[in-house]
């Protein structure tokens, strides 16, 4: 049992590793074999060199952009959770917010980045953080509201038959029931956060972000540097995803065996 579980786990790590190595090898070979122009697709080895040459700028960009993404993810999620708690408790609030929220989903929120730059000034990182906050807010709000309201009828009856208070039902039934919904929303939101943080940076603002490193390097035909910055952004995205997965593991012990390997 433990043996097969171990080999399962090894397989889930090994398979993508091998696949990734083969992929990189084929990529490198193709670029060399066909003497590809660097602006089309730099080879993995030149991107690797660019990472080394620009390490300071990339690391700085990871801090700035990653910082914005994490800030937006945390603040946006907290606001969304509070909004869901209010919406699930007071119907009138839900009646006001839910239609607005459904409308907002259709709005490409990153396109608001220039507007926020005007409102708060393009030098203020809050302009870009706000983009992330708004992007993160809606999926978290929708999912958590669903989790808070779609509870097992038997659970509610059981609590009612024991004369449990409204607050007790929220604490003992609704919130735990919403946790899996929150976690799957956070998985989605963590990748939305890094994407929107970078796209927001394409519209100008403080120097030293990954978004700006990408646009600038591309403008200067330093494609290997641009790709190196993309790599940095991917690392941030993966780190955020792993952090959410870890949070999930800690917050929902009852789901560990079922979903994990």
């Amino acid at each position: 049992m433990t043996g097969s579980r171990f080999s399962d786990r090894a397989a889930t790590i090994l398979v993508p590793l091998v696949f990734g190595a083969v992929f990189l090898g084929v990529w490198e070979w193709l670029v060399r074999a066909f003497d590809n122009k660097q602006f089309l697709l730099p080879s993995p080895s030149s991107i690797y060199t660019a990472v080394g040459d620009n390490w300071g700028r990339i690391w700085n960009g990871v801090e700035v952009t990653g910082g914005n993404a994490v800030y937006g993810l945390v603040v946006g999620s907290i606001l969304a959770v509070f909004a869901s708690l209010i919406a699930s408790r007071w119907g009138w609030f839900s009646d006001i917010v839910t239609p607005i929220a459904s409308g907002m989903v259709a709005v490409p929120i990153v396109s608001l980045a220039p507007v926020f730059n005007i409102w708060f000034g393009s030098t203020d990182p809050f302009s870009r953080r706000l983009v992330v906050i708004v992007v993160v807010f809606f999926p978290v709000f929708f999912n958590v509201t669903k989790g808070l309201t779609q509870v097992d009828a038997v659970h509610v009856e059981l609590m009612r038959s024991q004369a449990a208070s409204q607050w007790s039902v929220i604490r003992r039934v609704r919130i735990p029931n919403a946790l899996p919904f929150l976690m799957s929303a956070l998985r989605l939101a963590s990748s939305l956060a890094i994407i929107s943080a970078i796209v927001a940076e394409y519209f100008g603002g403080t120097q030293g972000s990954l978004g700006q490193l990408i646009t600038q390097s591309a403008g200067l035909s330093r494609y290997d540097t641009a790709w190196a910055a993309v790599l940095g952004a991917s690392a941030v995205g993966i780190a955020m995803f792993v952090a959410v997965a870890a949070l999930e593991w800690v917050a929902m012990p009852w789901r560990r065996e079922r979903t994990g390997a």
């Binding site: 038997v154 009856e157 609590m159 009612r160 024991q162 004369a163 735990p176 929902m252 065996e257």
Partner: protein, 265 residues
């Protein structure tokens, strides 16, 4: 908290009707003209075809559903007051365990709501785990248990604070025959020890006769009480299951059920 009137019956339903979606096209007459008095210390089983309103009747007693007409009182108080006073515990047809709580924490839930201390809760849940023969599963989560084991946790949860009135909706439905007989014996033991009152829904004629002091046979659409059969078998032992008086009673209940089924459309 209202104190309990010692002379009042455990449960009294007078002229209770329950219509779901009353006034609309898909109205359902779930209960009609139910008069039922359950004295203290009685063990009353409800039996009847599926959909005849047994669960609905329990829910009216537990004040989980308001009656459309008539009154429901529990220990001489209006049903809502009895619910607020936590006079009863209910075991539902579905186990309804909380996925996110361990078996032990599930059993302790009613005690938590009653404000018991952690140590007292723990001591009691250990006793209850022993009772339902799940000592080794206290730290497991419900998804790690079989359906029958989950049902046993739900039974432990409803017995945990020794309520004066137990409302049980087919609690043994998911159990195998041996576990079922064991749980029946345990329930009777607890019932006698606690001197409590039980209303018990079942589809099993033998179970109803074995457990009850009275079997109430219900007829469907609209749900009514068809007949009441007093069971007076004396002390329940395993031998009684093979006794002539036991067969006589099961036949009586079976015949009542047959006539009810024939009336049904």
């Amino acid at each position: 908290m209202t104190s309990i009137d010692p002379s009042a019956p455990a449960v009294e339903l007078v002229g209770v009707d329950k219509v779901f979606n009353e006034g609309s096209a898909n109205a359902v007459d779930a209960l009609q003209g139910i008069d039922l008095t359950v004295r203290r210390g009685e063990f009353v089983s409800l039996i009847g075809p599926s959909g005849c309103g047994k669960s609905t009747l329990l829910r009216v007693v537990a004040d989980l559903l308001p009656p459309s007409r008539g009154t429901a009182s529990v220990f001489g108080k209006p049903a809502p007051q009895a619910r607020l006073d936590q006079d009863h515990a209910m075991a539902f047809q579905k186990a309804g365990l909380f996925d996110w709580r361990t078996v032990r924490a599930n059993i302790e839930l009613p005690l938590e709501l009653k404000g018991w201390s952690k140590a007292d809760r723990r001591a009691r849940s250990e006793e209850m785990l022993q009772l339902v023969k799940l000592e080794e599963f206290g730290s497991h989560y419900p998804f790690q248990l079989s359906g029958g084991m989950q049902q046993r946790v739900a039974i432990a949860r409803c017995l945990t604070f020794e309520p004066k009135l137990l409302l049980m909706d087919e609690p043994f439905g998911a159990l195998d025959e041996m576990t079922r007989e064991h749980m029946q014996a345990e329930l009777l033991r607890i019932y006698e020890e606690l001197d409590t009152t039980v209303i018990f829904v079942t589809h099993s004629i033998a179970e109803a006769v074995y457990l009850s002091s009275r079997v109430v046979v219900m007829s469907p659409r609209p749900g009514r009480i068809h007949s009441t059969i007093d069971i007076d078998l004396g002390e329940r032992t395993d031998a009684i299951r093979n006794d002539a008086s036991f067969f006589e009673k099961t036949n009586e209940v079976r015949n009542a059920l047959r006539s009810v089924e024939q009336v049904a459309p």
